[in-house]
């Protein structure tokens, strides 16, 4: 617990264990029922008859194929939403939460620059998400072997990292809003609203051909379009998510260093 980032991890140790258990239970629950789904071709018929609006919710591939199943049940919505919730919560906590609980004065009475506090808090967020993501990847890898889902390891790794970076982007938005405003409600509320809007926009543009060319406004579109289970690592998508997050954190250090702390 010798630095701000390691202290943040120490504070989070119990929560991280519960999140980890949650990820294992979720993946185990979903993968373990695949064998019965695989043997239900009528499921594919059912989904083919679904209206387009609902199809976009589950992805485009056959639900009875391993890739289609893992994509629709985990990576289409569930995993990115969990990462979003985690990242937005922790991103808002990083600066705005510390100010809200009025411990920022005490922390900054130590010889730490404000830049260092922002960077270490962001590092702590990244480390937590990497830990969860590694757990997600390992449990998926093992479960897919155990239940005989033929998925490429690279694809799984790429999908896990894609979800992590997508979540981290919104975590960085939350952290930056906290650094700019010091207000926890704003830091949680705006990124949450933005994520919901991104999801809705992706669904709407999938349905309305006239709007399709504007789909790229939504980060959710890029999250799905990078299709990592099939295409593996597509550097341009991952670099874009990471690059925007880093730019946001730079903005956070700049503004946090220049404003008054909340009283």
């Amino acid at each position: 617990m010798g630095s701000v980032w390691s202290k943040t991890l120490f504070d989070r140790r119990r929560a991280l264990i519960w999140w980890g258990i949650g990820f294992i239970v979720l993946t185990a629950g979903i993968i373990s029922i695949f064998p019965s789904v695989r043997n239900s071709p009528e499921l594919d018929k059912l989904t083919e008859e679904l209206p387009a609006a609902l199809k976009s919710l589950i992805g485009e591939r056959s639900l009875t194929s391993p890739i289609g199943y893992v994509q629709s049940r985990l990576f289409q919505l569930m995993v990115p939403v969990l990462f979003l919730v985690f990242a937005i919560g922790q991103g808002a906590e990083a600066i705005a939460g510390e100010e809200h609980r009025k411990t920022m004065d005490l922390l900054l009475a130590n010889p730490l620059s404000r830049t260092r506090v922002v960077v270490e808090k962001f590092a702590a967020l990244c480390v937590q998400m990497v830990m969860l993501d590694a757990l997600l990847f390992v449990s998926l890898f093992l479960l897919c072997r155990a239940f005989d889902l033929q998925l490429s390891t690279v694809g799984l790794a790429a999908a896990s990292i894609n979800a992590l970076l997508f979540g981290l982007l919104f975590g960085a938005i939350a952290l930056t809003l906290g650094a700019v405003t010091g207000h926890r409600g704003i830091s949680v509320g705006i990124p949450t609203a933005a994520a919901i809007a991104a999801y809705v926009w992706e669904s709407v543009t999938a349905l309305v051909p006239e709007l399709a060319s504007y789909a790229g406004i939504s980060p959710f579109h890029h999250y799905v379009a990078s299709d990592p289970l099939v295409r593996g690592f597509v550097v341009s998508y991952l670099a874009a998510f990471m690059g925007i997050s880093i730019i946001l954190v730079l903005i956070a250090t700049f503004t946090f260093s220049r404003r008054d702390l909340q009283n």
Partner: protein, 300 residues
């Protein structure tokens, strides 16, 4: 050659709009002194301290702490300063010892033995989670983290709030030790009695403006206090107003009320001639005692 002042404010101003904030504060705290910063709640004490700590930035003017600029050299300043916030919020999930270890580590491996020694002096159990501690014990955690790295300057905002009298006494000894080692203490309070035993000088702040800087001895000679005497046989018919120091007097039944400026000795000598059954001496109230000297109540 004059030593570098521990604190120097030059026209320090924080404009919060109408009410709070500080205006055009000029103040110099000499290295090695215990300086009391007195003023009623809301006068701008905490604002001044947060400016010195670089938590907030001045609207105008500037300040130096230990000869360094509060904005450009803040990190180095905070390395050599111990700080206790007025409204203390701690990491409730940590134990005292974990908190001290965390701060010691980010300060660059400060040994923990002094912190443990201070815990013993203040009768604080550092192994308990801070969230389980009483207000007084939390305040002790705040004091220990301010003192533990033996800072050159201690900035303490209302340090004794919530401490019981015995612990306050120990705290006064900690301040005396600090002063004896030539280190500086900047102590804010809204109670005169809290600083008058400890401080060499006091600055008085009111409505964001520094209204006076005085030696404590000089201040004491101006203190206004109120006294009540209950007489056995009714209030003697004397002309009390002639006694040195008595500013005002009136009586109800067999109780006489006096307002005395400076020494109470002449009044006591005069009263001693009569049979007194009870005496009540009130704490000199800072606001009524001093502020009337230095500034007219501007806005009631």
């Amino acid at each position: 050659m004059k030593a570098t002042p521990a604190i120097r404010c030059l026209g320090l101003t924080k404009d919060y709009g109408k009410t709070r904030g500080v205006a055009d504060l000029d103040l110099e705290v000499v290295a090695g002194e215990v300086f009391g910063f007195l003023g009623p709640n809301g006068a701008g004490k905490t604002t001044t301290i947060r400016l010195l700590m670089d938590f907030i930035r001045p609207t105008a003017g500037r300040a130096e702490v230990l000869g360094m600029d509060t904005f450009t050299e803040s990190v180095e300043i905070r390395r050599r300063v111990g700080y206790l916030p007025g409204e203390l919020s701690l990491y409730e999930g940590l134990t005292g010892k974990q908190l001290f270890a965390f701060f010691a580590s980010i300060r660059g491996h400060v040994p923990l033995d002094h912190a443990m020694e201070l815990c013993e002096r203040l009768e604080l159990d550092p192994s308990r989670p801070i969230g389980d501690l009483s207000k007084g014990n939390k305040q002790k955690v705040g004091l220990v983290q301010a003192f533990m790295h033996r800072p050159d300057l201690l900035i303490l905002d209302e340090p004794t709030s919530g401490l019981d009298p015995l612990i306050q006494h120990e705290f006064h000894r900690m301040l005396a030790d600090t002063a004896a080692e030539g280190r500086t203490v900047f102590l804010s309070s809204h109670v005169l009695s809290e600083v008058e035993h400890m401080a060499n000088r006091v600055g008085i702040i009111r409505s964001g403006s520094l209204v006076a800087i005085e030696d404590v001895a000089a201040l004491r000679s101006k203190a206004i206090r109120s006294l009540e005497f209950k007489f056995a046989g009714g209030v003697p018919a004397e002309d009390w107003s002639g006694i040195a120091g008595v500013v005002e007097s009136h009586s109800i039944g067999n109780v006489a009320h006096f307002t005395v400026e400076g020494s109470v000795d002449p009044l006591l000598k005069a009263i001693a001639r009569h049979e007194v059954v009870d005496v009540i001496s009130h704490e000199p109230d800072l606001e009524e005692t001093f502020l009337s000297y230095y500034s007219e109540p501007a806005d009631g």
